[in-house]
Symmetry: C2
Subunit: 315 residues, 2 copies
């Protein structure tokens, strides 16, 4: 039996007990006092993991690519943590009809820890839980952390903001929808991967991506466009190397630490907002809330003015 004591769990986790790692992440996800104790314990020991975000639409093959990157990291002697937030990811059990994902191979490798994050949660669900889960894995000393997301919607953008290097994955032949997606993804990508590059239309996709990136103007880091066939492993080594180059770029240009500090500031602001929201929920249980709600459903008072009034009464 696993103890529920944070210190004992951390010790077990460091010794390679996966169930202990899972338990620690669940504790921080749930946001109860034990979870706070875990964060207080592990946060000061972190700050060393390199976080790679992988984002792409369902079906773009990002799990297979992640799988390939895990192999390269393992070959380099590094341990790896993976957080999967895409509801359609084979990691999260979403691909019901059975992607024969090779990911499962890692189940027996103690150097790889894979966690699927619940998706469609309540307000701030995945985007709130991911930085905390990263804090746990980072504090436990895993040098590489991969975060896999769908790359549409603001929750996903927030998750990607947790990454040191963001890899955007597209596939050939999407036509207009790729063009459109790029509009949002161009800003956040440090590397672009055209996966399934053995398919028709790959040249068009690469050319379109290149044009879009050029329109973005000169930057100190020029995001490379790489081609892969993740199912065969073709090109995946180049992606792994490009991640390494981007990492060195950030270090050489003194960008890594300032970026991380900005991220921590954003996280503190977010934590403030979500703690306030939690207190609001508590307030929402009160009698006054019921009275105000009646006026809202009776169309006498709009919800936004009602919220301000409820809070002003608190002061």
């Amino acid at each position: 039996m696993l103890s529920g004591d944070p210190e004992e769990l951390v010790e077990a986790a460091r010794a390679g007990d996966r169930r202990a790692i899972g338990r620690l992440i669940t504790m921080v996800e749930e946001g109860d006092p034990a979870g706070s104790a875990v964060l207080t314990l592990l946060y000061p020991q972190g700050g060393n993991a390199y976080v790679v975000g992988l984002t792409g639409a369902p079906g773009s093959g990002k799990s297979t690519l992640t799988d390939g990157l895990i192999r390269h990291a393992r070959a380099d002697g590094s341990t790896v943590g993976v957080l999967a937030t895409d509801p359609s990811s084979p990691f999260t059990g979403g691909a019901i009809l059975g992607d024969r994902i090779r990911m499962q191979d890692h189940a027996s490798d103690p150097g790889v820890y894979i966690r699927s994050m619940g998706s469609r949660g309540h307000l701030g669900g995945v985007s709130a839980a991911t930085p905390k889960a990263l804090t746990v894995l980072d504090g436990l000393g895993l040098p590489y952390l991969f975060v896999e997301t769908v790359g549409v919607g603001q929750a996903e953008v927030e998750i990607v903001e947790s990454a040191d290097t963001t890899v955007v994955i597209v596939i050939p032949g999407w036509g207009d929808s790729v063009q459109a997606n790029k509009a949002g993804l161009l800003e956040i990508g440090d590397l672009f991967v055209v996966n399934k590059s053995d398919r028709e239309g790959v040249d068009d996709t690469v050319r379109d991506l290149r044009q879009m990136l050029e329109m973005g103007g000169a930057r100190s880091w020029q995001p490379p466009i790489l081609m892969t066939v993740a199912t065969t492993g073709a090109g995946v080594g180049e992606v792994w190397q490009a991640i390494g180059r981007h990492r060195w770029h950030l270090i050489d240009h003194d960008e890594l630490e300032p970026e991380r500090e900005l991220r921590l500031e954003r996280e503190l602001r977010r934590a403030l907002a979500s703690e306030l929201a939690r207190r609001a929920e508590r307030e929402a249980g009160s009698n006054r809330f019921g009275t105000v709600l009646q006026r809202v459903t009776g169309r006498q008072l709009d919800p936004w003015t009602a919220a301000r009034r409820l809070l002003d009464e608190l002061d």
Copy 2:
């Protein structure tokens, strides 16, 4: 020149001035005092519009389907408002390489108002702004409101929660990714549309959808699965009729008003949380915030404990 006075703008908007409508929506989106005045003015006059949510991945043809539904609503003599939140929607200018969308035809029809909502915004961006924009259009007396979303991510789910009837659009031949998407979308769909049904694989997609819906068990409303070729208009009339049937179902089973009241309660809770977040941002500008942030970036204090401490000091 348009005045900035809420009452004058509402008057102009009712007289059919689109720029006045646009101005009103911008005011509520920005959340300034003038926006609050607009909501206070229009909210009590609303509660009559029927809201239809349309959700589907980029490229599923939901804009073309929406276009067809607008035609049917107009043929029935109803005016229509459309809010497009999909960054790849031709409505939002996202389809850069030019979907030849017929939507533009409606530009000269004073009975149709189309608004593209900004996407990747700050925390709570689209999902916070959409219910307010709906409140404006509802208060102005538009009987049908369509909300178009990508259908991935929690912001989209929140938007769909604003709808009386939710239409989920898929296309044939997506393979596993469709299967996966359905897992999340099944719960929220009142109608399923297989668009581009002249393509190969349509029978498989319909059969898969049916199986998945059957696994969901018996409900008082059994979501129909309809086939369309939105570009030719085939099947779109049936979708419009099915929306009408669902509406009657909700009314006949006394579900419409209770659902709307639940939605308003959710909106009030959300408004409370976001107003609290706004106040937290203000707090974040203070000196104390800077001191605590230093301890966070110095890895002495985790952001979540730091947020609680800052708020406890406030009390």
